[in-house]
Subunit: 645 residues, 2 copies
Amino acid sequence: MSEGRSSHHKVSFATPRGFGTTFKSDLKETFFPDDPFKRFQNEKALGKVKKALEYFVPIFEWLPKYNFRTLRYDLLAGLTVTSLAIPQGISYAKLAQIPPIIGLYSSFVPPLIYAVLGDSKYIAVGNVAACSLLIGQQIGEVVSPTNDPTLFLHLVFTATFVTGIMQLLMGVLRLGILVDFLSHSTITGFMGGTAVIICLQQLKGILGMTSFTNKTDVVAVLTSVFEHKKEWQWQSAVAGIVFLIFLQTTKFIKDKKPKLFWVSAISPLVVVVVGCVYAYFGHADKHGIPIVGDLKKGINPSSIRYLNFDKRYFPAILKTACITGLIALAEGIAIGRSFAITMNEQVDGNKEMIAYGIMNIIGSFTSCYLTTGPFSKTAVNYNAGAKTAMSNAVMSLFMMLVLLLLAPLFSYTPLVALSAIIVSAMLGLIKYEEAFELFKVDKYDFCVCVTAFIGVVFIDMDTGLGLSVGLSLVRALLYVARPGTCKLGKLPDSVLYRDLEQYPDGKKHSGILVLQIGSPIYYANCNYVRERILRWIRDEQSNIDSIGHVEHVLLELSGVITIDMTGIETLSEINKTLGGKGIKLGLINPRIKVMEKMMASHFLDKIGKKNVFLSVEDAVETCRFSLQLSTENSDSSAQHSDDTI
Amino acid sequence: MSEGRSSHHKVSFATPRGFGTTFKSDLKETFFPDDPFKRFQNEKALGKVKKALEYFVPIFEWLPKYNFRTLRYDLLAGLTVTSLAIPQGISYAKLAQIPPIIGLYSSFVPPLIYAVLGDSKYIAVGNVAACSLLIGQQIGEVVSPTNDPTLFLHLVFTATFVTGIMQLLMGVLRLGILVDFLSHSTITGFMGGTAVIICLQQLKGILGMTSFTNKTDVVAVLTSVFEHKKEWQWQSAVAGIVFLIFLQTTKFIKDKKPKLFWVSAISPLVVVVVGCVYAYFGHADKHGIPIVGDLKKGINPSSIRYLNFDKRYFPAILKTACITGLIALAEGIAIGRSFAITMNEQVDGNKEMIAYGIMNIIGSFTSCYLTTGPFSKTAVNYNAGAKTAMSNAVMSLFMMLVLLLLAPLFSYTPLVALSAIIVSAMLGLIKYEEAFELFKVDKYDFCVCVTAFIGVVFIDMDTGLGLSVGLSLVRALLYVARPGTCKLGKLPDSVLYRDLEQYPDGKKHSGILVLQIGSPIYYANCNYVRERILRWIRDEQSNIDSIGHVEHVLLELSGVITIDMTGIETLSEINKTLGGKGIKLGLINPRIKVMEKMMASHFLDKIGKKNVFLSVEDAVETCRFSLQLSTENSDSSAQHSDDTI
């Protein structure tokens, strides 16, 4: 009866779709999974232009609906973020070994551009610690930041420019897919490792040292710290510890009472101001506490003529630009998305890339270095109640005022205050609990994470990242190379066939082996698929020796989305090999792409349309019928093959 | 009623298996898919040793059963293959730019070792043209074969040694999986391209030229040929064309009457002998037809002390060894397998690697260069009736006799005869039809093939291979990054839910959207999966605006073999996003690994066990029931939601 139900419908042997149709659909799924053209349908020419403008320049979408009520929120958020942007800008510029004013410049122009082009409402634009350190270290390998600071700075601008171009191209070519390959586990491990080495780097500032290594790995840094013990300044260390305790306390307050987030948000500015006052009146620089020094008034000067494409440095610049660009995109997009999800909204990754790209290109023309959407600022922006990208414009405005009026005041900032700010920010990026969660749920993900961490801490940042991405790719490829196969059994009192490992009470019919294949059959796995199927048959035959041997092998292909030429040949070989052993092969529910290729390559003619079934139940019933016939013919008990084991 | 049938069985929420169990099973599937330990079960200690010996040294398995009857076949096959091995050995050694006698040596020791260790019955061991050319070209980049032939030869031995070590290690570490990533399309394109450039190289021999380029790309070679027009020798060209016509005719005969395969098999030897006789009596070398010259009597001298690991050359050697080693393995294993399949037998790839590895290591100690199981010789061996690896031992024996007695005779071989033999062999490797078949069945495979071909012909061999492998990997990764999703509909008169694109007559229930996901949910595709699901919902809602909006989204997860941490988070986010839109999420048939991770990460608690179903039918019926309830509650017609659209 059950077999009657499902066999009413025939397998579809429709003529394969044309190449154009399938190619277009594959292209769309690969590069336009979010279907951005949908909005342009059913629009007239003028409407289309308007929609396109709104699509590419999001400010046109939200500004017309903007009102004073929203502005109040954005003003407050912008002001709060500015208070964080000043100390962070100065600190991270020091990490990149460039003049601290560049960090302030970077919080003026890029946020303004993001306000126009950005797709996320909560991102607050700024520099990030990991990329700053990476830029400093990578470009430091070709030009010394201490011996030739001007050339070094120009190369940093050039790297920012190249990063921008790369990000823009990735957005235009819709290569957001590349960012997808930086897994969450990789980023967690990488950020954790970076946080550790950045904290260690701050020992220089906290101990008030002047000599320090250019390397970033733990061993080199610790060696360097202890080799120059004589340079340690106790005054600086005491100030550093006091600042750090203050900053961590404000964080603790924020964690306990989320409403008081602003205490933690403005605390770095408080540290800087207190430090400045102390340094100014206490002449701290004469008492073992070095200060930043030399911050000129005035907004960003043009830097377009400083871009340097000398081929001696270009390979290093290109490498730096690619690595930092990808990390910056991954961080910015991931953070934008995670806040959007909290609010049930969506962020278009490819549009974000274009925004970041243009922001960095224009940034590199106006004395800014690499910016993106960092976690710390964005979280503050979100918590301070930002409603639109306008908060970035507000931050930009306040930063302009700071640059025009207050910049010289910050030249008294003690380096130790900056170090304390950085350490405090970094401590939040070492996520033990997340690593532990990974360990519990997925050991391989945990390895990927730990590899990134250990690589960054003990070797260097790009090696750690590379190893971890490599390990993730190996897993993706392993999945393709070793598709899960399983043996299906019929669940009692149902027509369902399920994995016998998962549902051990499933029943098999003697003489019929139903196997499920769970991935495309590809050149990379066809040898495996063939061997594995033969092994299933061997195992089956050695198990049921008393009852009879396998006469039908049915492959359940619902999970085989696609197949390539080698895969078709493999099926053909399996069919031949099984035929040699007197076993009949049947295929169950081949999907549309598989069916099309089976027809194009004439494999369907080889195996015969009658051996292709729509459901497991159909196939098993047909096989049981044929087994029964053959048993009757051979004059043995017709009852036998009807039993299930 | 149908729903009654399937819902008798409950979803399995069994306690997750231990880490040890899953790790062991994953490891086994990855490295031991052929389950080699099976044979050792149920054996006593002595039996285990015997079985192990038979496993690792196949000669112990077949020699005890060997009889005179089989020997007759192997003798004939061995003799036939020897007649091919002599001209091929000399020719391919010339391709590698090493003394021709090395080619003869390489047909003595390696076949003997393969006879002991080899797993395939039909492989006949020898040099291959593509690898010979590649070795000559790659090592030629660091040492000139004309200026320092001794050092060049020593480096070739060293490369052979390193290749052997690499192959042995790959076999021992069960890395046969690496060879799987050289797809059939890549090999077809690479071999075709190599054949073209090798044919072009032979213009040197056929035109009797002395100056020639070291490069292999078409442009460089043709330029070089036409730049030195004055060196062209018409006598040589005429002889070359005559030889070529003869060789191609014998091939034509073989194709027409497969029984006459031996005509084609011995024709190269005939060409050599005729060439030698003509050269000896006609003093051909004085009439514009250069000869091989200088072939000493005697078997392989030891070359173990010549291995040169100087760090100036080692990087080049390592690169050469890795590329040629992989190609040699891919060719040898693929050919062994394809003949085994014809005879319904099996070849163990990992065992073959060990055999090739040891063969090349010992070869490098005895003045041999890289050998594998080439197609031409193997086909001749098979057709000549070889029954076991004994035919290799026979070939080895005959080759020893040739080396001891006849070698000097071959020193009169005209170079043009060798060139004709190579060209004739290569023409068979350019497989138009296969490329055309690829074009018909799978355009992407065709691109992979053409990339290899064009890369090899216009750039160089390793670049062509690299580009093509890269393109294949991109496809494998794209599959992981863009899993096929589809919308399911219920086939009329059945309980089956199938892809609506493939079965357009399937019916949807209003308010219920059933989506099938066909791949693991991974870090690399989780953004795509989320966006795609949201797009399905958008599309659905814009389609059925009049009837009502989607209230239930059911994800059919039978094709999702596994999931990682990011994937779990994605499911969690999707659940949250849908919840925000008032849509309920249901999961259908999560597989064992997915279920285990859902439990470990407590996602199952979030979504609720009642929203996990065993079959689509169960899930849809449950949703219809809840829709009906809510419709009744809202006092509208209970009839409505029962309709299908």
